[in-house]
């Protein structure tokens, strides 16, 4: 139930920036792009800029916690929901790779589509800021991977941790509110 709420909410509340990516790259990458982006959007949540998705995870976790009825069960529900999303994302990504898409041939946005919408996504803002910061610090060139990776991981950790922490806390709350008799 918890997973269903998260997936349904993520599907129907997909932000315009992701919709733009689907419109642009969907014909090139295939139909697994949208579910992939739905899951990326669900799994990388900015705690302040994506209040709606924090609320979605919290709501789903609360319902899961109510159903579970125990704190331990609630935590298991939360973690398993988050892991399920991660697995489905991995599956979608694998499907995209299996389709033989050559990412070096990405077409320009078609008429009527602009990537400026994508800049509004918190994750895009983080990535652009990080890359520009690194390039500025490195004298204008791309930073070496061994330097870039730790910075990226450190920066992205809050995005990644927000959903799992939110869903677990909300699930425990749900279990406290309606404990199993």
């Amino acid at each position: 139930m918890c997973l269903l709420i998260v997936l349904a909410g993520g599907w129907y509340l997909l932000p315009p920036g992701y919709e733009t990516i689907v419109e642009w790259l969907g014909p090139f990458i295939g139909n697994y792009l949208r579910p992939s982006l739905v899951l990326v959007n669900l799994l990388f949540v900015h705690p302040l800029a994506s209040i709606m998705f924090v609320a979605l995870w919290a709501g789903a976790g609360f319902v899961g916690g109510v159903i579970a009825g125990t704190k331990k069960g609630a935590v298991v529900v939360g973690i398993s929901t988050w892991l399920s999303c991660l697995l489905i994302l991995a599956f979608c990504a694998w499907q995209i790779m299996q389709s033989g898409v050559d990412l070096s041939g990405i077409p320009p946005p078609p008429p009527g589509v602009s990537v400026t919408d994508i800049l509004g996504l918190p994750i895009a803002q983080f990535l652009v800021t990080t890359v520009v910061t690194m390039m500025a610090g490195g004298g204008g060139g791309p930073p070496p991977m061994e330097e870039a990776l730790p910075s990226l991981l450190m920066g992205i950790a809050p995005f990644l941790l927000t959903p799992i922490v939110t869903v677990c806390v909300a699930a425990v709350l749900g279990a406290v509110v309606r404990p199993r008799e």
Binding site: M1, G17, E23, N31, L33, V113, T116, L121
Partner: protein
């Protein structure tokens, strides 16, 4: 030749900095712009900004298509939108509202020699990225897309929160102005001393401690926003003669308002940051023109690209054809309203004469003509004459889709109709949409993407028809369609406008397609999810 064209376009786009030069040549001393031997162009710019000005610039390309840019500087309409004296502009380098639809921006970059995927290190010093990366501004524009509306603001040397707060105030003011902008998302980035190797002193000589860039994407309907921007322009001058519908109905159009609260800061920054790199004509020119300009300046620009208006056999080009004027073109009165300038650039075509011609207030050379319109007064038209042209016969090419909004998996018939709207027969016609399968290798296409026709009489039409079956959702881009043909022994190429085919996903189709694409793994995953749900429900009932 490209250099001349590039110069003209750039001069216009930097906001009328060309005017001092033009007017110093053209105009006698007058009550608004005073010229004299002791006063050079640089001294005139502040006066020009003080008095206000409007310009119509028209460029006709080798296919006979006109691109029209209309702009106003420092006139009450555009200045009033920003209220540039307000405190929220302290520390602000520039604010711009930009709405672009269609091919105009791409066209302008091409015009400046900065477009296309083959752009290499050009006059502006843009170097191609290695390994086939994005090579120049033209490529960047390609990847920005051809339809977007944004508000951009840049603040310098402010705390991040202060800059963000002031930018938010600016956006709020613009939302309440006649522009009525509606923000959909915000992107911001801050460059501070930690990002400049050696601190701010290493930014090319300027002592910048920070730069904050804000990009707000807008959700206003594009046509409405362009109309709103053009609607802020001061009326009463040559704008009145233009067909306002062209700003939204032409194949490509754009409009922008630019506010420069402290133009001296911007000039200083550009000047200092260009100290350590190769000098370019464009940057040099801007810097050379601007040092004496002080205080706030507001510029408004609107433009559009139209279909071919000059064809084989023509010996003149009328401004009224380009701007859709049917009546008198009335400029501002230079004594009270501001200056009006008309410029026409015919590219490689040599101009042999212009109308109206006045030795003191008009000027032409090679492919370029200028008029000091305010000095000439109302005119029925502005005309350039030329002898021999290499313009192609009037050929129209239109791509249509049937159905126009298909769903995933349903066949779509694509038809490119070519009409010989000229008065001469053309031959060896080839219609090609061959790039489609290069862009989307997995797209199922039934029929040839290339058609050959031996000849096409005046008034006749021919077509290329094929069918595609889009299996994926999204917008399919139909890029770089071409019609090539021969006329009087010379070969011509006409571009077919890029188009997007939006394939609407129905949830059930998408679901079934996704399952079939990933079968049997999708079946296993669904089975596991289903089992989990059944297990949970059973558990719920038992508890």
């Amino acid at each position: 030749m490209r250099l001349r064209t590039e110069s003209l376009a750039l001069l216009f786009m930097v906001g009328f900095l060309v005017l001092p030069v033009a007017t110093s040549v053209l105009l006698p001393p007058g009550p608004v712009v005073v010229t004299g031997s002791s006063q050079g162009p640089m001294e005139m710019l502040p006066q020009l900004i003080e008095s206000g000005a409007e310009v119509i610039y028209t460029h006709v390309d080798s296919e006979g298509r006109p691109a029209v840019l209309y702009g106003q500087i420092a006139l009450p309409g555009v200045t009033g939108v920003f209220n540039l004296d307000a405190d929220m502009y302290d520390g602000c380098l520039a604010v711009a509202v930009l709405a672009v639809r269609g091919e105009l921006l791409d066209y302008l970059f091409e015009l400046m020699g900065m477009g296309g995927n083959d752009s290499g290190p050009g006059d502006l010093g843009f170097a191609p990225a290695q390994d086939g990366g994005i090579g120049g501004p033209g490529d960047i524009i390609d990847y920005l897309g051809d339809e977007f509306s944004i508000v951009v603001g840049v603040y310098m040397d402010l705390e991040e929160g202060v800059a963000a707060g002031r930018m938010a105030q600016v956006v709020q003011q613009l939302a309440g102005s006649p522009l009525a902008i509606s923000v959909s998302s915000v992107f911001s980035i801050r460059l501070d001393e930690s990002m400049f190797p050696g601190g701010g002193n290493n930014t090319g000589g300027s002592n910048i401690s920070s730069l904050d860039l804000f990009v707000y994407t807008l959700s206003n309907p594009m046509s409405q926003l362009i109309q709103n921007i053009v609607g802020t322009f001061t009326t009463g001058g040559m704008l009145t003669a233009m067909d306002a519908d062209l700003f939204v109905s032409a194949p490509g159009s754009a409009a922008a308002l630019v506010g420069l609260p402290h133009i001296e800061d911007l000039v200083g920054l550009v000047s200092s940051s260009s100290m350590n790199r190769p000098r370019h004509g464009f940057v040099d020119y801007v810097i050379a023109q601007a040092p004496q300009v002080q205080g706030p300046v507001a510029v408004g620009i609107g433009g559009f690209v139209r279909d071919q208006i000059v064809q084989a056999g023509d010996t003149e080009m009328l401004l009224s054809d380009a701007i859709g004027s049917t009546g008198t073109i009335t400029p501002f009165s230079s004594t009270s309203q501001g200056m009006s300038i008309v410029a026409i650039d015919m590219g490689d075509t040599s101009i042999t004469g212009i109308e109206p011609y006045d030795a003191n207030h008009s000027y032409y050379t090679d492919g370029t003509a200028f008029w000091a319109a305010s000095m000439l007064g109302p005119q029925s038209d502005y005309i350039v004459h030329f002898n021999e042209t290499s313009y192609p016969p009037l050929v129209q090419a239109v791509r249509t889709f049937s159905p126009a909004s298909p769903t995933v998996g349903s066949p779509v018939t694509v038809t490119i109709t070519v009409t010989n709207a000229g008065s001469d027969t053309i031959s060896d016609i080839e219609i090609s949409d061959a790039r489609l399968t290069e862009v989307y290798p997995q797209l199922s296409v039934d029929g040839s993407l290339v058609a050959h026709v031996p000849s096409l009489a005046p008034g006749a039409e021919t077509s290329l028809t094929y069918t595609v079956v889009p299996e994926y959702e999204g917008v399919y881009g139909f890029f770089d369609g071409r019609v090539t043909y021969t006329f009087e022994g010379q070969s011509y190429t006409k571009s077919i406008r890029d188009a997007g085919l939006r394939v609407v996903p129905s949830l059930s189709d998408l679901f079934m397609n996704s399952i079939s694409a990933g079968w049997p793994l999708t079946g296993i995953v669904l089975g596991l999810v289903g089992l989990g749900a059944v297990f949970n429900l059973a558990r719920l009932r038992s508890s």
